[in-house]
């Protein structure tokens, strides 16, 4: 099925456009809230990200005003703590990650020749969660109740005892809410890149940017869950008094630091990788030749992704961990220099062998290099433990971090924005204003932060709201502050340039930079469906190798140009080879993502206000909305009731046993597994390391009860596997029975776990041991309950004929969930009950 003979008669692009637009086009007015299209949502992500960048920037200016001169009273200490905490939080969680996700959401389908991301409604849910979470978090500043324990929320300072207000709660709940968005984007970017590349685009032929985004998305999937777990535990400690991080109950504040940096260090690379992807995309275009050493770069990205999960302890060199561990993490931290250097030299070699042109985007790339290499070099210095002990928590580290993050993320992002502006708008920005903006930002940045290294070496600790004169810090702080205002002026210039260009920019010619990748085969600005027809691409540089491609695509000479069936369709292809596998039909615009996000916002707010019954109702409603949204799948009238496809085309994905949904479920379970492993890490960490850990002599749990529950889960899972086996043979006899049976066994498991929990008499506010067991059992309850409900709904769908031998896909997805659920349940039994019995306390 790889090569399909198509009619190659060109058709009128205008007709094709109006047909496709009918199905794909965005509605206006109130219905704009239902849009699920990646182009629109990608732009919304980026614009919202810029808005939060302005907020974060204003906070930065407040900070620099306060410490410009010694003994200032511009802000009270409380406000200053809130401002520094929020500056870090907003920039990291509400600007850096979402804007890069937005760029990836916008760009990835266009680059790999797809029409949308693979889970469009999830994109929308992610956006709304981001927006609402961000607003809730920033609202805390309006009422002067913003978090104030520093952006990494070290406990016990962030605990209810030392931060009694709502500040920490805003942080924990708001950030967790926003992280739903990061995880959704992570999951669907992984699946989209692996399963929806256009025909023929093998993994090693995809644009290098897609590799970077694939790595970023996988890192989000694995890296964010530890922080989500940490936030849930800390919020439980604050709200209910479960002592996870409190020494007296047997907890350990260092557990928070481990969980935070288990997330926090990969996060640096989650931010850096997409930015480096922009660099790797732009340099070949402006050098006029392919990237030298594509394989080297892929290797470097992979190594970076893995190493970055082994570095978190270098943020904790001063907490008093054993020397051997320090040496290990010190060496590992320095090793990251290798993949970074490989990329820097690949870029250099590409420029060396090409004919580089210094256009505006390239200027930002060179700025990136200067700043990022500086930051990288100080990073290697900081990895050296004795030096780290001196400069840790001083302005030297603050300077280093800004060099890495601003150099490594913001400069490439600006380069990328200038590069893709003609695609966004169809117009060119002004080179003159753009250059002014660049030089002001570049000069201002270095004035601020190069000098700040020195302030740190002179001994100025970070996060002090004022300082006495006489330490030699005065003049350097003043210079840094002046620099920061110059930088702000530069950003104002850039923003004005971008805003003005939408109206006054010269109309851009098609593919203005003579780029090689498919996004430039779009119309400028792009249409909602991206491409009229989907080409076979077997080269890394489709537009260089076939400059005619945009025209033939517009004329419908490639795949899937017909839309008379009214479905939103694109290719589903093999993850490795890019061979055609199926037609993916995508859901259209929907209210459910917005409603689900609104319900989650209600949950978030009522948790903040400690209205727990309301929060409970909110959770039920949110889950209800999401299940309702999942109802519109398969052979549902709003999805694909009619499975008819054109002769020669592959089947619809809902009519196969291998749709992208399986990949989405698997990726989601990787995230879930990362959460679970973080939990097990916490359990064993507290058990072995916590200074006051207390374990009862007798396990409080009923082993028999748990084992019977585990057996019920296995039986339910067996029924599902049986159902799936039947479906593979196109046989749906007894399908509903098997599904209902699994649902019942899931309910039995749920009931037994609940019984074990209620009979355990856990003193969850007294000891960490009991509290952490409680969390484990709650996790098991959630999974058994969800498994039962999903199997039940599938059974009902069989009754409606949405699922069956004719549309066999969904039960398999549910089975994947059950496999995971059974596995972790038994792991829980072993970890929480059997091991303590065997080893003893």
């Amino acid at each position: 099925m790889t090569t399909i003979n198509r009619e190659v008669t060109p058709q009128d692009p205008q007709d094709l456009h109006s047909d496709l637009h009918e199905v794909w086009g965005n509605p206006r007015g109130l219905k704009a809230f239902t849009i699920v299209n990646h182009t629109t949502l990608g732009l919304r992500f980026m614009v919202t990200g810029m808005a939060f960048f302005l907020i974060g920037g204003i906070l930065a200016m407040l900070i620099r005003t306060q410490i410009a001169t010694p003994d200032q009273n511009f802000m009270t200490p409380e406000i200053y703590s809130q401002v520094t905490t929020m500056h870090g939080t907003v920039m990291m969680f509400l600007f850096a990650i979402p804007i890069l996700e937005g760029l990836a959401i916008y760009m990835i389908p266009k680059m790999i020749g797809a029409r949308d991301l693979v889970c469009p409604r999830l994109t929308a849910l992610g956006y709304w969660c981001y927006l609402f979470g961000g607003i809730i978090l920033c609202f805390s500043m309006v009422i002067e109740m913003a978090p104030d324990s520093g952006w990494f929320m070290y406990t016990p300072l962030s605990s209810s005892e030392y931060s009694p207000g709502l500040g920490s709660d805003f942080w924990l709940l708001g950030i967790t809410f926003v992280e739903i968005s990061a995880l959704s984007a992570g999951v669907e970017l992984v699946v989209s890149i692996l399963r929806t590349r256009t025909q023929g685009m093998a993994l090693h032929k995809m644009p290098i940017f897609a590799w970077y985004i694939l790595a970023m998305a996988l890192m989000i999937v694995v890296g964010f869950p530890p922080l989500i777990l940490g936030s849930i535990l800390l919020e439980l400690e604050r709200a209910v008094g479960m002592p996870f991080f409190d020494i007296a109950g047997g907890g350990d504040p260092l557990l928070w630091q481990h969980l935070f940096w288990l997330f926090g260090h990969p996060e640096v690379y989650i931010i850096f990788l997409p930015a480096a992807g922009i660099v790797s995309t732009l340099i070949p275009v402006f050098a006029g030749r392919p990237l030298v050493g594509y394989g080297w770069v892929v290797f470097a990205i992979t190594v970076m992704g893995f190493i970055s999960f082994g570095l978190w302890v270098h943020h904790m060199f001063t907490v008093g961990i054993p020397q051997l561990a320090q040496a290990f993490f010190s060496a590992a931290s320095m090793l990251v220099a290798i993949p970074t250097a490989i990329q820097v030299f690949v870029w250099l070699a590409t420029l060396w062998l090409g004919k580089p042109k210094m256009k505006l985007p390239m200027l930002w790339i060179v700025g990136f290099l200067v700043i990022f290499v500086c930051g990288g070099l100080t990073g290697v210095m900081l990895a050296l433990v004795p030096f780290n002990w001196q400069v840790h928590d001083t302005h030297f580290v603050v300077a280093h971090m800004h060099y890495v993050l601003v150099g490594g993320m913001l400069f490439p992002l600006m380069a990328g924005i200038y590069y893709w502006l003609p695609l966004f708008s169809g117009r060119m920005p002004s080179e003159t204003i753009g250059k002014w903006g660049f030089w002001l930002v570049f000069g201002g940045f270095n004035a601020t932060f190069l000098i700040m290294h020195w302030t740190g070496l002179l001994g100025m600790p970070r996060r002090v709201y004022t300082y006495d004169t006489g330490f030699g810090w005065d003049i350097f702080n003043l210079l840094s502050s002046v620099g920061s205002f110059v930088m702000s002026a530069g950003f104002a210039m850039v923003i004005i340039d971008i805003a003005l260009h939408f109206r006054y920019g010269k109309p851009a010619k098609h593919n203005p930079w003579n780029a090689d990748t498919l996004e430039w085969a779009n119309s400028m600005p792009p249409s909602a469906y991206n491409f009229v027809s989907l080409p076979v691409v077997e080269t890394r540089h489709p537009l260089w190798d076939n400059p005619d491609l945009p025209r033939t695509m517009r004329e419908g000479q490639h795949g899937l140009p017909t839309i008379s069936h009214g479905r939103r369709e694109m290719w589903g292809t093999d993850p490795l080879t890019g061979k055609l596998r199926e037609i993916i039909h995508l859901p259209g615009n929907s209210w459910w993502p917005l409603f689900a996000a609104l319900a989650l916002a209600v949950v978030c707010i009522s948790l903040l206000l400690r209205w727990y019954p309301v929060a409970g109702i909110g959770v039920v409603i949110a889950v209800g909305f999401i299940l309702r949204w999942s109802w519109e799948n398969g052979a549902h009238p709003k999805a694909a009731p009619d499975a008819h496809v054109k002769a020669g085309d592959p089947p619809l994905h809902s009519r196969t046993m291998d749709g992208p949904g399986l990949w989405a479920m698997t990726t989601a379970m990787i995230a879930n597994g990362s959460f679970f492993l973080s939990y097990l890490f916490g359990w064993f960490y507290l058990w072995t390391v916590s200074p006051e850990w207390r374990m009862p002599d007798e396990s409080p749990l009923s082993l028999i009860g748990l084992c019977v529950a585990g057996v019920a889960a296995i039986l339910g899972w067996g029924l599902l596997e049986k159902a799936v086996r039947g479906l593979r043979e196109k046989n749906d006899k007894g399908l509903a029975f098997n599904l209902y049976g699994a649902a019942m066994l899931g309910a039995v498991q749920f009931g037994l776990v609940l019984w074990v929990l209620l009979n355990a008499n856990l003193a969850v506010t007294e000891t960490t041991h009991d509290a952490i067991i409680m969390v484990g059992l709650a996790y098991a309850l959630l999974h058994s309950g969800l498994g039962a409900v999903m199997a039940l709904l599938q059974g009902m769908r069989v009754g409606y004929r949405f699922v069956g031998a004719h549309a066999p896909f969904e039960p398999l997805v549910v089975t994947y969930f059950w496999r995971y659920s059974v596995l972790v349940f038994w792991m829980l039994i072993v970890a929480l009950d059997i091991l303590p019995r065997v080893i003893g306390s």
Binding site: P77, E78, S81, S149, Y154, P156, L157, Y162, P253, L254, V292, G293, T318, V319, G320, Q323, Q326, A327, S330, A331, M334, I338, A341, I342, Q343, V344, F345, V346, L348, A349, L353, G354, K355, P356, M358, L369, V373, M381, L384, V385, P386, F387, W389, Q390, V391, H392, D393, L457, L458, G459, M460, P461, R463, V464, Y467, G470, F471, G472, I475, E692
Partner: protein, 353 residues
């Protein structure tokens, strides 16, 4: 084992030789005004071996990093200027491989190895390894927002003081640090690295001051609204002076001092009825919620670095401390008469052993 020791010794020798040179360079830099008027918290002005090692490492790393930086940036910029040559794909591959392997792999591997060889011995010296002779132990406990300092090894019983740290010069001292509330960090920049002070745990760091003198220190881990005002006055004394200092602070002597003067009887009553709930003064009260005040008259600052200790400073502090150090944990004294505060201040100022 012996070889390794010799190896370390040789490295240390090279370090010392290099340091002499670096120091000479430093003198020039300071003369150029680059180092500015380095205050008593500058890492670049070391006063102990540990800090000196780090400064040496820093200057070496900076030099090396500058060379790498200039080389990489120049190469990049050069590519925009140089003429384009047509090359065969084989030639291109060869050139590319040379850049990537040379710059991408060999350069970082070489730099990192050199750095580790240089840095690891320095790190080792800062560890509290057994020395073969007893080492002075000083306990430091962080509080929001002040320092409790204890000398468990003092002859004649433990000595306790607050917001000042006196140590013997010219010998290694082990600091056992912990916290009574949130996480703080103990750091005397001119003597060496920092270590976190965690509730429920005791961390140890070994530092040494070469010469007697005064060194600045302040909490390095963000610990709340008044993290800024958590200074520690550090003073190194010759061994004998140090022991004399300890002896002056024996509980009986301090108690005598506190009860000595009858004109302060009123102030002592006020103290007992109002302040003693939190503060201790030897012979009168023993509460550890707030700083111990038994030798407060002899300290250099008030409020952990907020005010210099002068005549009348304590009264001024008692009247204005919530403005001088907002949110500090001591309740306001608005309800007290000025005269009462004045006598209280005068008495406390007299507590100079």
């Amino acid at each position: 084992m012996r070889e390794r020791f010799l190896h370390h010794a040789a490295l240390a020798c090279i370090q010392r030789a290099a340091l002499r040179r670096v120091n000479r360079l430093m003198v020039i830099l300071v003369a150029l005004g680059l180092a500015g008027c380095a205050g008593d918290r500058s890492i670049l002005d070391p006063a102990g071996q540990a800090a000196r090692d780090v400064v040496l490492i820093w200057w070496v790393m900076l030099t090396f990093a500058t060379v790498v930086f200039i080389a990489v940036i120049s190469l990049w910029l050069y590519t925009f200027k140089r003429k384009y040559h047509e090359r065969t794909p084989q030639q291109e591959r060869k050139i590319a491989r040379r850049w990537v392997i040379g710059g991408g792999i060999l350069l970082p591997v070489f730099s990192v190895s050199a750095l580790l060889m240089f840095g690891v011995p320095a790190g080792k010296r800062m560890l509290p390894l057994p020395l073969g002779h007893p080492v002075e132990v000083i306990e430091v406990i962080g509080h929001q927002w002040w320092w409790e300092v204890r000398y468990p090894g003092a002859e004649g019983g433990e000595v306790v003081t607050s917001n000042q740290l006196v140590l013997p010069a010219g010998e290694p001292v082990d600091f056992h640090v912990t916290s009574a509330d949130v996480i703080h960090a103990f750091w005397i920049p001119r003597l060496g690295g920092k270590i976190d002070m965690l509730p429920g745990r005791v961390n140890v760091i070994r530092l040494e001051a070469d010469e007697p003198g005064v060194y600045g220190a302040q909490c390095a881990e963000f610990c709340g609204a008044q993290h800024t005002h958590m200074d520690l006055h550090v003073e190194a004394l010759e061994r004998e002076a140090f022991e004399a200092w300890l002896e002056d602070r024996q509980a009986e002597r301090l108690a005598e001092l506190a009860l000595a003067n009858d004109e302060f009887a009123q102030a002592r009553d006020t103290f007992s009825s109002s302040c003693a709930v939190c503060h201790s003064v030897a012979g009168i009260s023993s509460s550890a919620i707030g700083p111990d005040l038994s030798d407060i008259g002899a300290r250099h600052t008030l409020g952990a670095g907020v005010l210099p200790m002068e005549e009348g400073a304590i009264q001024y502090w008692l009247e204005n401390h919530q403005t001088l150090k907002p949110s500090n944990k001591m309740p306001s004294h608005d309800y007290m008469e000025t005269a009462t505060l004045e006598s209280l201040g005068a008495w406390l100022e007299s507590l100079t052993p």
